[in-house]
Symmetry: C2
Subunit: 212 residues, 2 copies
DNA sequence: ATGTTTTCTATTGTATACAAAAAACCATTA
DNA sequence: TAATGGTTTTTTGTATACAATAGAAAACAT
């Protein structure tokens, strides 16, 4: 956690940069990611770039074909289904732990994020709205008090964001989706486990169906 | 999956080797892992070694203090609790998916592993017995048909094995633990969800309590 | 024209050299 | 003696050069 402040080494910077390029759609699925050209683009040597690519590969964002080229992954429909399956299970766990461990401020933060997410969607800023949606779910993972679970969410989140890129959602359908966040918060505050499960189930299914 | 066959690049070999050194206790928690001396030990340059260390760091086996040294992680009691918490949840998910997706041969394989695991413990070969215990749980993750879940298990498994090193368990207590595998298999064959949950709960709690 | 072999080129894998920073050491001082 | 400051040493961060291999292109045979 503490190196988040000092992290100035090129590997991590490059990693974050390429990650953003992938998640913004600048680098598309299937596109090749040659070390040489990217290192020239960023003005760094191949060493930190290789380390960045390896990490991206571990996080499932690029496919590192050994002794050959690297390319941005394409998430198949079946993989998306599997990710949603695991995600639903873990979101339920995270929400239940959140109830036990979160402070009132954490709930307030969720409300703020949720409101802003909805507002950004109304303003038509899809990209920023997506980011806040991710943040909403990550905040639950953070507030649940289980760092191991948070790490798993981090890895899943990258691939979920990648899936979003291929979703063609209308603004109103997205609004419905985002509004579920408030319902979830309410259910968590009341501690109603069954309700949480059903809300999340419909929430994640919504997410998955939109992508397939 | 396919590079498991061809993987002959030094980074991965070194990674596996160091991982084994850590999980066998040859490299103890808190011990420093300097690049230079290890690269000399393995007869490779620092480049593949660095890549191996980065990966080990991503898998939570070593702590890479930026611009400083690397050391084998020490899993605190609280972290162990968190890992067990997530693990229990995911084992239940995996077992339920296993029921739906596994072939009869998969069940047979579980039985074989479980039996051999028990035998090795009776023979006093703790290390090999532990390995088969890990394999048992990994086979469930493999057979459940969700690769994403399998990947998460892979990461958790490394840390769980590390925890085992500090457990001081008697042979008979271990035998009790291993015997629960057969009960779990039976419950999975009958498809009794509630029973699976209670078995796994006591199984994982056993694991955790032994480590704290 | 098509399939196969061969050569070439582009790209990754590895080693090494140098730069930068942190940790360890030691002398100095209050 | 404990604390402090500067110096040395160790260790990591980065760049670059060379080796090896896979993919692409070209030459060849059928």
């Amino acid at each position: 956690m503490e190196q988040l402040i000092t992290r100035k080494n090129l590997s991590d910077q490059v990693h974050d940069h390429i990650k953003r390029m992938i998640l913004s759609g600048e680098l598309k699925g299937g596109e090749r990611v040659p070390e040489a050209s990217l290192s020239k683009l960023f003005g760094v040597s191949r060493t930190p770039l290789r380390e960045a690519l390896k990490k991206l590969s571990d996080y499932g964002l690029i496919y590192l074909k050994p002794r050959s080229y690297a390319e941005v992954v394409i998430i198949t429909e079946d993989e998306a289904r599997q990710i949603a399956e695991v995600r639903l299970d873990l979101e339920i766990l995270a929400a239940k732990l959140f109830i036990k461990n979160a402070a009132p401020e954490d709930f307030q933060e969720l409300r703020n994020i949720s409101e802003q997410c909805l507002k950004l969607n109304e303003e038509g800023d899809k990209g920023a709205s997506f980011e806040l949606d991710s943040l909403f779910h990550m905040k639950i993972a953070e507030g649940c008090g289980n760092f191991c679970l948070y790490e798993i969410f981090e890895k899943l989140d990258a691939r979920i964001q990648l899936l979003r890129l291929n979703q063609k959602l209308t603004q109103s359908s997205l609004a419905d989706y985002i509004k579920q966040h408030s319902i979830l918060i309410a259910a968590m505050e009341k501690g109603e486990g069954n309700l949480i499960e059903s809300i999340l189930t419909s929430h994640i299914i919504h997410d998955f169906h939109a992508s397939s």
